[in-house]
């Protein structure tokens, strides 16, 4: 049997979800139809899935399903998993106009010796570049943001987050909160920008495809 395929039964054992959940998610288009691979085995027909992708997707669904309806989730998930495996080199990033050359030169040293940027690193670069190019953030602040994201974004483990960029009396802070979130500040605080991972992914997706 193929190593990178997983049978339906094994999948349910491994993830602890039930048949009902699996079918419900399929109906809601959380799991694409073409991941269901039918094969005949000695017990009759069995359904198989591509192992890595389905496990990642189910992990995502379980993590994200609190606070979101299944329909919202479906929009969010549609084709994110294929992006997670993308890796781009510095030249690619610049030539595709995803991140500006300047940002890349200054903050592009995320990869330790490797030539390609992973998707998570791309998100960080893109976020920094987005705020820099909008003129709302200075270079020093960008430094801080890049550092914050590198250190903390991984802690969300694939869950969606919101980034709050606030200033008070000339002092800048970045706040990362699990989305959907609603923060209330005191009067002296000015909310410069609010970005959500979902939006960033959407934009990035547009640029990559």
């Amino acid at each position: 049997m193929d190593k990178d395929l997983i049978s339906k039964k094994e999948l349910l054992d491994l993830t602890g979800i039930s048949y009902g959940q699996l079918y419900r998610w399929k109906r809601k288009k959380l799991i694409p139809e073409d991941w269901f691979i039918r094969k005949s085995t000695f017990t009759g027909q069995e359904t198989f899935f591509p192992k890595q992708t389905i496990l990642a997707r189910i992990h995502n669904i379980i993590n994200m399903k609190d606070g979101l309806s299944l329909d919202e989730l479906a929009d969010k998930l549609s084709d994110m998993s294929s992006l997670n495996s993308t890796a781009l080199t510095a030249e690619d990033i610049v030539s595709r106009n995803i991140v500006s050359q300047m940002t890349l030169n200054k903050f592009g040293n995320l990869t330790s010796g490797q030539s390609a940027y992973s998707f998570e690193q791309l998100i960080i670069l893109y976020t920094v570049d987005y705020l820099l190019s909008s003129g709302e953030m200075s270079l020093e602040e960008a430094e801080l943001l890049s550092q914050t994201l590198v250190e903390t974004a991984a802690k969300f483990e694939g869950k969606s987050w919101d980034l709050y960029f606030v200033r008070k009396m000339g002092v800048t802070s970045f706040i990362l909160a699990l989305s959907p979130s609603e923060l209330v500040f005191d009067e002296g605080v000015r909310l410069v920008n609010k970005l959500s991972l979902g939006d960033l992914l959407e934009q990035l997706k547009g640029k990559l495809s």
Binding site: K8, K9, D13, S18, Y19, G20, Q21, L22, Y23, R24, K26, R27, T43, G44, Q45
Partner: protein, 228 residues
């Protein structure tokens, strides 16, 4: 641009119409529609032929309805005979009669009595069905499935002996679900969490996780408990 209010399509008697987007569609008598229909509410009484896809929030159907394409709806109430060449998908469906779907059938709620035939996969949240005639599905995947036999009288036995279509039984390849409660079902494989096999069943293989109840005298070739 100002949006025009959608118009209605009303057919009384014997007539035909083109497809399009409507507010209300009402067909009484014999109606034939060529082209795809999108409507807020769709009501068909009598004999309705639809030669393309149908999409409506509310669907009500009495009599015979033939759909050559696929049918999508929010809620459907159907009495009579329904034939759908494509797929069926919607929120809830209350059926009294026969439904015949060539493709896949995706519903959140299916309740009814009569019979159903699904060529592909019947995927649903909750199914409660009283069998009055022969039903078939290639595969069923549900959260909860309850199949009952409607009338157990002498007359129904007599009729079903003469006309096989009236024999209340369900034939399925594979049933997978969380809660499965069956009667008069012939299945190759049943996989579930809680499985109840009632009278009149014949099952090739049962795989269950927490509980299996079998009516005395029911034939099951092989039963297997899947440990956590």
């Amino acid at each position: 641009m100002e949006k025009m209010p959608l118009s209605d399509l009303i057919i009384n008697g014997v007539s035909g119409a083109g497809g399009g987007t409507y507010d209300n569609v009402r067909i009484d008598g014999v109606g034939k529609v060529n082209g795809a229909i999108e409507a807020r509410s769709f009501k068909g009484n009598g004999h309705v032929h639809l030669n393309d896809d149908v999409k409506a929030i509310e669907v009500e159907c009495n009599g015979i309805m033939n759909v050559k394409g696929s049918l999508r709806f929010g809620n459907m109430k159907a009495d009579g005979l329904l034939t759908i060449k494509g797929g069926l998908s919607g929120e809830s469906c209350a059926l009294n009669g026969m439904i015949n779907v060539k493709g896949d059938c995706e519903l959140e709620n299916l309740t009814g009595r009569g019979g159903f035939t699904v060529g592909g996969l019947l995927s649903a949240g909750k199914v409660e069905f009283c069998l009055q005639g022969q039903s078939k599905a290639n595969e069923i995947g549900v959260e909860s499935l309850v199949i009952r036999q409607e009338n157990k009288g002498v007359w129904s036995k007599l009729w079903s002996g003469m006309i096989p279509k009236l024999k209340p039984e369900l034939r399925v390849g594979i049933i997978e679900g969380d809660y499965i409660d069956l009667e008069n079902t012939i299945a190759d494989i049943v996989r579930g969490n809680v499985v109840m096999i009632g009278p009149g069943c014949s099952i090739g293989r049962v795989e269950y996780r927490s509980k299996l109840t079998v009516y005395p005298g029911v034939r099951i070739m092989k039963e297997e408990k899947i440990s956590e």
